[in-house]
């Protein structure tokens, strides 16, 4: 499923249509959004450099990581950005997003060290990220610079819409993303969002702008207990290595396709597998003891079929409560049957039964005090 998203971004926009847009959404309970962003970034970069994609270049708008981080990330995936024919440009909104360094220099007695000089060909520092117009123009300028004129297109990757939303209003951020999507030279666009940093409507606005939404959720919900609870701790640790990866794709014909996978964060990187059954997940959490703590499939079915004495069957019949005494008619039948079989076996579909023998037939049922008087039985 993750691959289908990357393919959709690779294939880009149809003539006369908006570019496909992907929102990657996570929360603190399952903070893998950035891993997924890096995965999609490396995949799309490979496609672009191999000439397999609609877009001829990629503009990475980096708010939350330095440009050198992305250079190194791509280098480790075998993509050398510097020598890659200038197909990838990084717009640096990380190093000095608000122009503080310039203001300090103006105020005197401050010298900023020139750092990342080697990246100056690929990284361009933006010092005023509060104005979405300027940001939009910078992105489009970089993109056009990558591909030249004509019918070529470029892709855009924004590593943190949260940072953008901190500096500008939701409507201007939405405006920027919408304008990029509808720009006829933009092939595809994707961004990362931490859903718990915003009101629900902000996330909703961004989701409406996207043709694909991936959201990350924890595999296990820890109980509302205290952190010190060992079980909770192991659940939290589990949740930090694995999660659920949901994908929602809006098709052109209006249909929405929803898929889910499991995502694993390992030493070697991120991997996606199909969702395992709940039993397999819980296997890892069951303590290892010498007796079986779990039910077999047959036992589970039998348990599900047991009719509890006070359970409403909902079949309209008056509720018969078996109090352990058999009526005369029944007991006669019983004596005949009991002679041949001691144990009632179930020959039907395996329905379970509760067999209750009262200690003594002389025992009267509880008369005056009915402990269940207050219950609706």
């Amino acid at each position: 499923m993750a691959e289908s998203i990357c393919r959709a971004l690779r294939d880009g926009a149809l003539e006369g249509e908006h570019a496909p847009a992907l929102t990657i959404k996570d929360s603190i309970a399952s903070p893998f959004g950035f891993h997924v962003f890096c995965h999609v970034l490396s995949q799309l970069s490979s496609f672009i450099l191999a000439g397999k994609s609609q877009s001829g270049g990629l503009v990475v708008v980096s708010f939350s990581r330095s440009p050198s981080f992305y250079l190194e990330l791509l280098k480790n995936k075998g993509i050398d950005v510097v020598s890659s024919d200038k197909r990838i440009q990084i717009l640096d909104c990380y190093s000095d997003p608000l122009g503080w360094k310039d203001r300090l220099i103006e105020a005197g007695n401050f010298t900023a060290l020139s750092h990342e000089a080697s990246n100056s060909s690929t990284a361009n520092v933006l010092k005023d990220v509060k104005h979405m117009d300027k940001l939009y123009n910078s992105i489009v300028e970089r993109g056009k610079g990558l591909i030249g004129g004509g019918k070529n297109r470029f892709s855009v990757a924004i590593d943190s819409v949260d940072e953008m939303s901190r500096h500008a209003s939701t409507s201007s951020v939405a405006g920027l993303l919408s304008n990029l999507r509808s720009h006829d030279q933009v092939s595809s666009i994707f961004w990362l969002l931490h859903s718990d940093l915003h009101e629900a409507r902000v996330a909703a606005v961004l989701e409406y702008l996207s043709s694909m939404v991936t959201s990350l959720e924890p595999l296990h919900q820890p109980a509302n207990g205290h952190r010190g609870d060992l079980e909770n701790l192991s659940l939290i640790e589990h949740n930090l290595k694995k999660g659920k990866f949901h994908v929602r794709i809006k098709r052109r014909n209006g249909r929405v396709r929803v898929m889910s996978e499991e995502v694993h964060i390992e030493q070697s990187g991120i991997s996606f597998t199909s969702l395992s059954s709940e039993g397999a997940i819980n296997q890892g959490l069951v303590p290892k003891v010498q007796f079986s703590l779990e039910l077999s499939e047959k036992e589970r079915i039998d348990r599900a079929n047991v009719v509890l004495p006070f359970e409403h069957q909902g079949n309209g019949k008056p509720i018969q409560i078996y109090d352990g005494r058999r009526s005369l008619a029944d007991s006669k039948h019983e004596r005949q049957v009991a002679a041949t079989e001691k144990v009632q076996t179930n020959e039907d579909s395996g329905g379970g039964e509760i067999i209750y023998f009262r200690d003594s037939d002389d025992e009267m049922p509880d008369s005056d005090e009915d402990p269940d008087d207050d219950l609706d039985i």
């Binding site: 931490h194 940093l197 952190r227 701790l233 939290i236 930090l240 964060i265 070697s268």
Partner: protein, 260 residues
């Protein structure tokens, strides 16, 4: 005695092995505490370890909470002389107790406020000899008081933290910040707290015990060490939980049920 009892905390932070080069280089540590369980002892512990005679670490301490004399007293009991370290240019103390930023967004001038503080930290690091080989630790005590000094603008504080973060990438500094969880957790959406949690490579939470107050256990520490190495896109999340007891000259850390 000191080393033995704080071993669990050192282990969780990666400080139990050699501290040269400084294991927290380029990493951000966020400490969250509550009224019942103050997390300042974690700050003091990291400060003490960073000023260990075996290392060439430099610490820049940004104090919004207490004056120098307070930390001097506390660290003396832990066996560290801040005055000597300050004289040796290994410890820089920025007293921010009287900082009051001018109100209004556009009124933020570089002469005062957090922009100036950032400038001051930058200049201090750049002025250090052989800056590339020094391990600089920036410690902030604490973020909620910084927000007060910024007239309640958490955005301004987050901007400042972003710029401090650029220092971790530019100079490989470590950044340690203390914040109070219970101030923000009652809000509908504790955004400020969450922003720091997303930012942090190591998250340390000091909380009371689930069972309430106790005389021989002061609280529990949960250390989430993300161990992230985004360069390879890998991550080694490790979570540790243990109890602690703050004594006069030392903090004892031990697993639940194994007092001492």
């Amino acid at each position: 005695m000191n080393q033995r009892s704080s071993n669990l905390l050192d282990e969780a932070l990666g400080l139990d092995q050699s501290i040269e080069p400084w294991p927290l280089r380029g990493r951000i540590v966020a400490i969250e505490d509550q009224v019942e369980t103050s997390g300042s002892f974690v700050l003091h512990h990291i400060l003490k370890r960073s000023l260990s005679p075996n290392s060439s670490n430099v610490s820049i301490f940004i104090a919004f909470s207490q004056p120098f004399s307070h930390y001097d007293r506390v660290l003396r009991k832990l066996g560290c002389n801040l005055v000597t370290q300050r004289d040796n240019n290994r410890f820089f103390f920025f007293d921010m107790l009287m900082l009051q930023c001018p109100g209004g967004d556009e009124g933020i001038s570089p002469e005062c406020g957090l922009i100036a503080l950032y400038g001051k930290i930058y200049k201090t690091i750049v002025a250090l000899p052989e800056v590339s080989s020094k391990n600089v630790t920036i410690i902030i005590d604490d973020l909620s008081l910084m927000e007060v000094a910024a007239n309640g603008s958490s955005d301004y504080v987050l901007d400042f933290m972003h710029y401090c973060r650029t220092l971790t990438t530019e100079f490989d500094c470590s950044l340690i910040a203390l914040n109070h969880e219970d101030i923000y957790s009652s809000a509908d959406r504790p955004t400020f707290l969450l922003q720091m949690e997303y930012l942090a490579d190591i998250l340390i939470k000091a909380e009371p015990l689930a069972t309430g107050l106790a005389s021989d256990v002061h609280g529990q520490l949960t250390v989430l060490n993300k161990g992230m190495n985004y360069r390879q896109g890998s991550s080694r999340n490790k979570i540790s939980n243990f109890h602690f007891k703050v004594k006069e000259n030392v903090v004892e850390c031990f697993y639940p049920g194994s007092q001492g």
